[in-house]
């Protein structure tokens, strides 16, 4: 692995020189090393680039699948499928870093599918970063599809804090009876970056629920778009919350949609977009912070960074 990959790994995972347990490490479009554990088996796909990750019922552990692009002119597309057996309880640490020091950009598109069997639990953590000084664009376009069977639980925490010039995120989920989906997404854009995120959640099983929280900060001349569609087709609960802070000439467009097709579907959406409340800055200044420090703290807290 090269030194840029090391740098990226430190930032997007808690890597400290070694991954214990199951992992698969991708560098510039190739899987450069992987390891199975007793309960997690990683198999390379035959027909396309990517892996199948088989997580057995007994698995109670963390699996790492980071992807690093360390040079310009890479267009990486990867298909990763997670097959999570009934009763498994795992943390999946994904995440991706794109580095370029050249005029030409690089891109990573991770297409992830999750199949959660009955009663399984997954916490999915994903951090995206762009690094390097070149004018080339760092692009990350993740596509996520999740199928949650009876009483399974998927928690997704996704974070993009700096350096990604363009991102288009597409997340879809279908929930069965009693399944729970929790999503917490944080995106910060600055300079002329842009980010677009789309969610589509189908609540198809009785008593299924989704809690979708999106926090975004758009600074400088950056632009963000948010759209979510929650379809409550049965007795279910859905909550989405889209909060955005604007700074400089930042722009945010939010279009949340709730579609209830059952009398017992209970769907709520909350949205708030605006600059940082003046009284928040003032309050922190009365604690001795400068205006800039106060803004930083407020934004960091808001994004959960």
């Amino acid at each position: 692995m090269n030194s840029i990959t090391e740098e990226i790994l430190k930032e997007i995972t808690d890597w400290d020189g070694i991954f214990s347990g199951a992992y698969s490490l991708r560098e510039n479009g190739e899987c450069i090393s992987f390891q199975n554990s007793d309960n997690i088996r990683i198999v390379k796909k035959e027909d396309k680039s990517g892996i199948d990750i088989y997580i057995s019922s007994a698995a109670k552990e963390t699996v790492y699948i980071p992807a690093c692009v360390t040079k310009s002119a890479v267009e990486d597309v990867v298909y990763n499928d997670f097959h999570v057996q009934s009763g498994a309880d795992v943390v999946i640490v994904a995440g991706c870093g794109v580095h370029t020091d050249a005029e030409e950009g690089s891109a990573h598109n991770g297409i992830h599918r999750f199949f959660l069997e009955k009663d399984s639990r997954v916490v999915y953590k994903e951090k995206h970063v762009g690094i390097g000084n070149g004018a080339g664009k760092r692009v990350i376009d993740p596509v996520t599809y999740a199928e949650l069977e009876e009483n399974s639980v998927l928690e997704m925490e996704t974070l993009q804090l700096h350096g990604v010039d363009r991102t288009t995120r597409d997340t879809k989920a279908v929930l069965g009876r009693g399944a729970k989906l929790k999503i917490h997404e944080s995106i910060l854009t600055d300079k002329d970056q842009s980010a677009s995120t789309k969610f589509l959640v189908d609540l198809n099983g009785d008593d299924s629920s989704v809690d979708l929280v999106s926090r975004s900060v758009a600074k400088d001349d950056s632009v963000q778009e948010y759209s979510s569609v929650i379809n409550g087709n049965v007795r279910c609960t859905g909550h989405s919350e889209c909060d955005a802070i604007l700074a400089g000439n930042g722009r945010v467009n939010a279009s949340p949609a709730l579609n209830a097709a059952c009398i017992d579907a209970s769907l709520i959406h909350e949205a708030a977009i605006g600059k940082i409340a003046g009284e928040q800055i003032i309050k922190l200044m009365t604690l001795g912070l400068t205006e800039e420090e106060a803004e930083e703290k407020i934004i960091a807290g808001f994004l959960g960074a």
Binding site: A277, Q280, M285, G288, I298, G301, F302
Partner: protein, 238 residues
């Protein structure tokens, strides 16, 4: 000593908010400001903390003119201010806020010591966000705790009793009594509460932007004692 000298305050939206206020706030003393709603008490506190700049007059902090100093610099010079209306933050925990206030990392024991003074259990609250999921009284008590955590010389509390239950209020009163014993610190409390007025050294009454009465508690209180309903916390004086 913190001295206000003939302070006038006009805002674009309101003139004569304060109209010639002079007041000395002395270390080792508890000064209580009281008076009717809308009299100008909070405006005076905001002026001391630097949220408002006086139209004329001076604010002297240990002899230095701070009338035009920024909020941050006043805070660094030792002024701490507990807002009448606490501010909510999404994603900032009680611990974060207390650490920003104290300027140091705080272990659970240190958090406990301070939150206990406002009747809160640190373990239960330190990791909670300072947002609207907290009750009004909880927010208010955390707001007060952030000021108790400050290493400041001049402590301002704006209606600390508001929304606070009887038990927490008693604990707060004893916190104020302890602070009073510190010869190096000055306390300024804006209050309508008899129990707070009773532990005051000096009392000022502000009405329509001017101080209408000022003196020791024994001089001023008898004049205020005309009626007022009974509440568990004591009588509301104004």
């Amino acid at each position: 000593m913190l001295s206000l000298r003939d302070i006038k305050l006009d805002l674009e939206t309101k003139e004569n908010l304060l109209n010639g206020v002079s007041l000395d706030i002395m270390p080792g003393k508890l000064t209580v400001i009281t008076g009717p709603n809308g009299g100008g008490k909070t405006s005076l506190a905001k002026l001391i903390a630097g949220l408002y700049v006086p139209t004329s007059g001076q604010i002297l902090l240990d002899g230095e003119d701070i009338s035009h100093m920024s909020v941050t610099d006043r805070a660094k010079r030792g002024i701490a201010y507990a807002f009448q209306q606490p501010v909510a933050f999404k994603g900032i925990t009680v611990r974060n806020l207390m650490e920003m206030a104290s300027g140091t990392e705080m272990h659970e024991s240190a958090l406990c010591r301070i939150l206990d003074r406002v009747g809160l259990c640190a373990r239960e609250y330190m990791d909670r966000d300072m947002d609207s999921r907290l009750s009004g009284g909880e927010m208010k008590r955390i707001e007060i705790a952030t000021v108790l955590a400050r290493p400041a010389k001049y402590l301002l509390f704006d209606e600390p009793e508001a929304g606070i239950d009887l038990w927490s209020f008693s604990s707060l009163i004893s916190a104020f009594e302890d602070l009073k014993k510190d010869e190096d610190r000055a306390l300024l409390i804006i209050s309508h509460q008899e129990r707070i007025l009773n532990i005051a050294d000096n009392v000022a009454v502000i009405r329509e932007g001017v101080i209408t009465q000022y003196g020791t508690k024994d001089e001023v209180l008898p004049n205020l004692m005309q009626g007022g309903g009974c509440s568990p916390k004591g009588k509301e004086m104004y």
